[in-house]
C-alpha cells in the first residue's frame, strides 16, 4: 500500500517569523489578520498608517524584500520568513534622518503627516529603481500614494532634492538590514 503523504491542513492561527527593520519578530497571529494591523498592533510599529483598507490610498506602504507593497492587501501570515522595512527603519542608527526624510522636512513635503510614511517608503523604492526621475516620472510613480494636505507640489520638490543628494552620494548610516 502506498504511503499516504500528509496533506497540509487549514488553520486559523499561525506562527509568523518576520524580520522588520533588521529585527526578527516571532508571533502567533490569526491568519485573517492584515499585515498592516500586525505591524501596528502586534509589533507596535505604528508609523505605518491605515487610510482605506482597499489598496488605493498608499498610506500603508511598506517594503517587502525591498519592493513597495500595500500592507493592507497582505495577510500577516504571508510575510512569514520575509524582510520588511517600515518608516521606522528609514532613519539612521543614531536616528538621523534619511536624505529622503531630510528633503521632506526642508521642502515642507508634509502637513498632517498621515500619508507621509507610505509616501517616503514609495519614494525610497522609486529612487532605488530610477535615481534620476523627471518631474513627470515622479508624479506618475507616486500616483499610488494619495495626499490630501499638500497638493503634492512640495512632495515633488522634496523628491527632486532627495534624488539629487542621493546621486551625489549623501552619506547616511542606515540600520543593518538582515538579508
Amino acid at each position: 500500500m502506498q504511503e499516504q503523504e500528509e496533506t497540509p491542513t487549514f488553520s486559523e492561527e499561525s506562527l509568523i517569523s518576520v524580520t522588520v527593520n533588521g529585527h526578527i519578530y516571532e508571533r502567533n497571529a490569526p491568519v485573517r489578520m492584515l499585515l498592516s494591523d500586525f505591524l501596528r498592533h502586534e509589533l507596535h510599529l505604528t508609523g505605518t498608517h491605515v487610510g482605506c483598507e482597499h489598496g488605493v490610498c498608499g498610506c500603508c506602504t511598506v517594503l517587502l524584500n525591498g519592493e513597495a507593497v500595500r500592507s493592507c492587501l497582505m495577510l500577516a501570515v504571508q510575510a512569514d520568513g520575509m524582510a520588511l522595512t517600515t518608516i521606522e527603519g528609514m532613519a539612521g542608527t543614531n536616528s538621523e534622518l534619511h536624505p529622503i526624510q531630510q528633503a521632506f522636512q526642508e521642502k515642507h513635503g508634509l502637513q498632517c503627516g498621515f500619508c507621509t510614511s507610505g509616501m517616503i517608503i514609495s519614494v525610497h523604492a522609486m529612487l532605488h529603481e530610477n535615481p534620476n526621475p523627471t518631474e513627470e516620472e515622479i508624479r506618475h510613480e507616486l500616483s499610488g500614494n494619495l495626499c490630501r494636505c499638500t497638493g503634492y507640489q512640495n512632495i515633488v520638490e522634496a523628491v527632486k532634492l532627495a534624488a539629487e543628494r542621493l546621486r551625489a552620494g549623501a552619506a547616511f548610516n542606515a540600520p543593518k538590514e538582515v538579508e
Partner: protein, 809 residues
C-alpha cells in the same frame, strides 16, 4: 519692535517625529486592556425599525457589549444644536443610536465592543434588524416637491415623503436677506438674465478617518478621551454635561490628527458619545476607529445646492442687482445649524460692488448623511454663481472677462466695505481691507493672460482646444467667539505655550511658536506649544472657518506681550534699572548697553517665583549675583500679580476679517473624450500678514488640490434609494500627484486692522475658487461650441454630454 520670526519660513518642529513615523494618531494609542468597537449602520436611507435582535451577537466569543437605543438610558438624547438661528425653525439633531426610524444609509443603529475589531465586525453580522423600508427623499427635487412654486419647476400635487414627521415640506429653515432695492433695479435694468446652477455633494476625505479612545478611571472619577477632532474643548464640555461629570473630571485630547477639513468638527458624532459610555460601563478603555467605508456613509458631507439666479447689468458690464434663490441640502439632520447656506448667501457678492441683492434660501432635509462645513463651507457655491455671472456679462457684452471684473471691483479706498448682510458669526459682513485689482494684475502676469488669445488661436488651428479661466473670491475668516492662550517661561528658559485650538496639519506648533518667540527673544524651537488638550488650556472653540492662526495666534501674541512686559519689570528690579531699558534677545535679558551682565530668561523666571527653596545651577548663580538688596513687604507684591513669568490672554475679534484671492488656469480639453488636463495653474492670495509663508503656500497648494478634486474628479453619486453607489476610493476619485498640476503662487498683503498682528485666515482659501475657474476655462476652451457650464462638479462624461447638447441646439 522688529519681528524676527513672524514672516519667516521656519522649518516645522512637527516634522522630526512625523517623518520618523513617531506621530501619535488616535489609532496609535494603545492602552492596556483596550477593547474595540464597531458600529452597525443602516443599509436603508429611510426605514422603520420593526425590531432588533442582538442575542446572537452578544453570545459570540470575545464580545463584551452590544447596545441599541433601548440600552442608552438618559443618554438617548438628540445631540446639541450647534449654532442655532431664528430662521432655523425646524432643527433636528441625531440620537446616538437610531430609535424606531433610520434616516440615512450609514446611520448608527447598534454599537458592539469586543476583544478586537475583527470579532466586533463578526458580531455586527450577527445582529438581526428588521427594517420596513419607506419612500426615500433622495435629492433636492424630491425634498422640495411639495413646495409650491418650487424653483425646480416641478411643483406637484403629490406630497413629498418626509424625512422628519414633524417637518412639513422637509423645510428646516428659510431665510431671506435683502440689501438695497433689487426689485426696482430689475424693473429698469438694460440687461437681465436668468439661469439655474446646480452643485452636487462632495466629501472631505482626510487620509485619517475619525476615531476615539475613551478611558474611564473610576478611582479618580476621570474620563479621558483622545479624539481625532478639531474641537476638543467643546466636546469636553458636552461630555461633562452628558455624563454628569464636573468639567475638570473630563479631559479631551486631540492628538496628532491626520487631516480634518471640517468633517471632524462636530458635536456629537454618535461614536463620541457611545465610546465613553462603553468605557464607563465596561470599566476598560474602548477604542473605535472609523474605516473608510464608514467614512463614506457617516462622516459629514457638503456641497449640495441648487440655485436659481437672476442678474441685472448695464452696457458697461456693471453688475446692478442679483436675486439668488437657492435650495440647500442639509441631509437627514441639521447638526451645524444653517451656517453653510448663510456663508453662501454672504459670500456671493464677492469682491464686487453689489448694492442691490435679494438672497433667499430654503434648507431642506434629505435622506442622506448630514451636512456640516467642509473646507470652503458654502463659499465655493457662492463664488461659482458670482463668477459665472461675471463671465456671462463679459460674454454678452463682448468685454474681456478680467476687464468686467475690474470694472466691478470694490476699490482699495472704499474699505471698510459693508456688504449689508449678517455673517455666520452674527456680526456684520464688513470687509476690513483688500486690494482686488492688485491680485488680478498679479494673476494675469503669472498666466501671461494678455498673450493667451494668440496661443489659443494657434492651438485651435491645430485642432486643439485650450481655454483660460479665472475665479475671484472674498473669504470671511477669523471669526470669534474667541480663543485664549497661556504663555509661561520655564526655569530652563524654554517657554510653555498652550491654546485651545488644535492642528490637523496646519503647523500650529511651528507658527504659534514663531509668534511667541518674537516677543521673548528666543528661537521658535524653544517654544513648546501644547494645543488641543482641554487639560492644558480650558477655554476655546476649535479649529474651523480659517480662524485659528488669527484668533489663537492673536491670543498667543497678547499673552506673550504680557510675559515680555513682566520679564522687563522683574529684570528691571533685579538690575535696578528702568523696564524700558531692559532688552530681551538670544535667550538673555539685560540692561541695554550692558549685555555682558545678562541673566538668562530662565533665571529671570526663577527670580520671579519667590520660592523658599531654590534648585540647581541657575538658582545658585542668582544667589551669588546678589541682585537687589533686602526688601520690605511681601515676597510676591500685589502689583506683581502671579509668580513667575506667565500670562493668560484672550482675543475676541470684533467681527470677521476678509481674505481674498484669485486663481486662474489654462486647460486643454479633448472634445472627443471630454478629458481635461492642466497646462498651467496660478493662485494669488491675500491673507493679510503671514506668519510663515512656506506654511501658507502649502495650505494653498493643498486647497487647490481639493478644489480640483471637487471640480472635476470627486462626486458622490446616490441612486434613487439614497444609496451611495461609489463608496470607495476606487470610484470616488481623489486626485493623485499625476492629476494635480504645478501651482504658481503669488501674494498680495492687505493687513487686517482688526487684529493685533494684521492676519487674516488662509486655511480654506485654496479650494474656494476652483470650480468657478474650471467652468470658466471649459467655457473658454469650448466656446466654438457655445458651451456654458452651470454645474459642478464636472467630469468627462458630463462634458461630452454638454457638448452634445450644445451642438444640437
Amino acid at each position: 519692535m522688529a519681528t524676527r520670526w513672524f514672516g519667516a519660513s521656519v522649518q516645522r518642529s512637527e516634522d522630526p517625529r512625523l517623518l520618523r513615523g513617531k506621530g501619535n494618531y488616535v489609532d496609535d494609542i494603545d492602552l492596556p486592556g483596550t477593547l474595540h468597537a464597531a458600529v452597525l449602520r443602516s443599509p436603508h436611507a429611510r426605514a422603520r425599525i420593526a425590531g432588533i435582535d442582538t442575542a446572537a451577537a452578544r453570545e459570540l466569543s470575545g464580545v463584551h457589549l452590544v447596545i441599541t437605543a433601548a440600552d442608552l438610558g438618559e443618554v438617548l438624547e438628540p445631540s446639541p444644536l450647534l449654532v442655532p438661528h431664528p430662521a432655523l425653525t425646524h432643527p433636528r439633531t441625531q440620537l446616538p443610536l437610531a430609535l424606531n426610524e433610520v434616516r440615512y444609509v450609514g446611520e448608527a443603529v447598534a454599537y458592539v465592543v469586543a476583544d478586537d475589531r475583527y470579532i466586533a465586525e463578526d458580531a455586527l453580522e450577527l445582529i438581526d434588524v428588521e427594517y420596513e423600508p419607506l419612500p426615500v427623499v433622495h435629492n433636492l427635487d424630491v425634498a422640495s416637491s411639495s413646495m409650491s412654486g418650487t424653483i425646480t419647476g416641478t411643483a406637484t400635487t403629490e406630497n413629498a415623503p418626509l424625512v422628519h414627521a414633524g417637518v412639513p415640506g422637509n423645510i428646516a429653515a428659510h431665510l431671506v436677506q435683502i440689501v438695497g432695492d433689487p426689485d426696482s433695479i430689475f424693473a429698469t435694468a438694460p440687461h437681465t438674465m436668468r439661469e439655474t446652477v446646480n452643485m452636487e455633494r462632495g466629501a472631505a476625505m482626510p487620509m485619517e478617518c475619525r476615531g476615539i479612545v475613551a478611558r474611564w478611571e473610576s478611582f479618580e472619577g476621570m474620563l479621558t478621551c483622545w479624539i481625532s477632532t478639531q474641537a476638543p474643548i467643546p466636546i469636553r464640555n458636552g461630555l461633562a454635561a452628558i455624563f454628569h461629570l464636573p468639567e475638570h473630571k473630563v479631559r479631551v485630547v486631540a492628538p496628532d490628527v491626520g487631516g480634518g477639513f471640517g468633517t471632524k468638527i462636530m458635536m456629537f458624532y454618535p461614536e463620541e458619545i457611545l465610546t465613553p459610555l462603553a468605557a464607563i460601563r465596561l470599566g476598560r478603555p474602548v477604542k473605535w476607529i472609523e474605516d473608510r467605508r464608514e467614512n463614506f456613509i457617516s462622516s459629514n458631507q457638503e456641497r449640495g445646492q441648487l440655485h436659481e439666479i437672476e442678474y441685472a447689468f448695464d452696457d458697461q458690464g456693471l453688475l446692478l442687482a442679483v436675486r439668488d434663490t437657492f435650495l440647500h441640502d442639509t441631509g437627514a439632520y441639521t447638526p451645524y445649524g444653517i451656517i453653510v447656506p448663510i456663508i453662501t448667501a454672504c459670500s456671493l457678492p464677492g469682491p464686487y460692488r453689489l448694492k442691490h441683492y435679494y438672497s433667499d434660501f430654503t434648507v431642506l432635509y434629505t435622506n442622506k448623511v448630514p451636512v456640516s462645513p467642509y473646507r470652503g463651507a458654502g463659499r465655493p457655491h457662492a463664488v461659482f454663481v458670482m463668477e459665472r455671472i461675471m463671465d456671462r456679462i463679459a460674454g454678452e457684452l463682448r468685454i474681456d472677462r478680467c476687464e468686467v471684473r475690474s470694472r466691478n471691483f470694490i476699490q482699495p479706498d472704499e474699505f471698510p466695505w459693508d456688504v449689508g448682510l449678517v455673517y455666520q458669526d452674527g456680526g456684520p459682513t464688513t470687509y476690513d481691507s483688500g486690494n482686488y485689482q492688485a491680485g488680478l494684475d498679479k494673476l494675469k502676469v503669472l498666466l501671461d493672460y494678455d498673450n493667451f488669445p494668440k496661443t489659443q488661436a494657434e492651438a485651435r488651428q491645430q485642432g486643439r482646444y485650450l481655454g483660460i479661466g479665472v475665479g475671484y473670491y472674498v473669504e470671511g475668516t477669523s471669526i470669534g467667539p474667541y480663543e485664549g492662550a497661556n504663555v509661561r517661561v520655564e526655569s530652563d528658559g524654554r517657554v510653555f505655550a498652550a491654546t485651545g485650538v488644535t492642528s490637523q496639519g496646519q503647523s500650529h506648533a511651528t507658527t504659534f511658536a514663531q509668534i511667541v518667540a518674537d516677543q521673548l527673544g528666543i528661537h521658535p524651537r524653544d517654544v513648546l506649544l501644547t494645543e488641543g488638550d482641554s487639560q492644558s488650556f480650558n477655554w476655546g472653540a476649535g479649529t474651523y472657518a480659517s480662524r485659528a492662526a488669527t484668533v489663537a495666534g492673536s491670543a498667543l501674541h497678547l499673552a506673550a506681550v504680557k510675559v515680555r512686559e513682566k520679564t522687563r519689570k522683574v529684570a528691571a528690579e533685579l538690575f535696578e534699572a528702568a523696564p524700558e531699558d531692559i532688552e530681551i534677545a538670544g535667550g538673555n535679558v539685560y540692561v541695554k548697553d550692558a549685555p555682558h551682565r545678562a541673566l538668562t530668561l530662565g533665571q529671570v523666571a526663577i527670580s520671579a517665583n519667590p520660592l523658599r527653596y531654590a534648585y540647581g545651577e541657575n538658582a545658585r548663580k542668582l544667589m551669588s549675583m546678589k541682585l537687589a538688596g533686602p526688601r520690605s513687604g511681601p515676597a510676591l507684591p500685589s502689583e506683581r500679580g502671579a509668580p513667575g513669568l506667565e500670562a493668560t490672554e484672550f482675543y475676541s475679534p470684533p467681527h470677521a476679517s476678509f481674505a481674498s484671492g484669485v486663481h486662474g488656469a489654462i486647460i486643454e480639453v479633448d472634445p472627443k473624450t471630454g478629458m481635461v488636463s492642466f497646462v498651467k495653474y496660478a493662485a494669488v492670495h491675500d491673507c493679510g500678514r503671514v506668519i510663515n509663508p512656506m506654511v501658507v503656500e502649502g495650505q494653498v497648494h493643498g486647497g487647490v488640490a481639493q478644489g480640483i478634486g471637487g471640480a472635476f474628479y470627486e462626486r458622490l453619486v446616490f441612486n434613487e434609494e439614497g444609496q451611495l453607489i461609489n463608496a470607495s476610493f476606487m470610484d470616488y476619485l481623489l486626485p493623485t500627484s499625476a492629476e494635480i498640476p504645478p501651482i504658481a503662487v503669488d501674494h498680495v498683503e492687505t493687513p487686517s486692522p482688526l487684529s493685533p498682528l494684521g492676519m487674516k485666515g488662509a486655511g480654506e482659501a485654496g479650494v474656494i475658487p476652483v470650480p468657478a475657474l474650471f467652468a470658466s476655462a471649459i467655457d473658454d476652451a469650448l466656446s466654438p461650441f457655445g458651451m456654458r457650464v452651470l454645474e459642478m462638479p464636472l467630469h468627462p462624461c458630463k462634458i461630452y454630454e454638454l457638448l452634445q447638447a450644445s451642438q444640437n441646439v
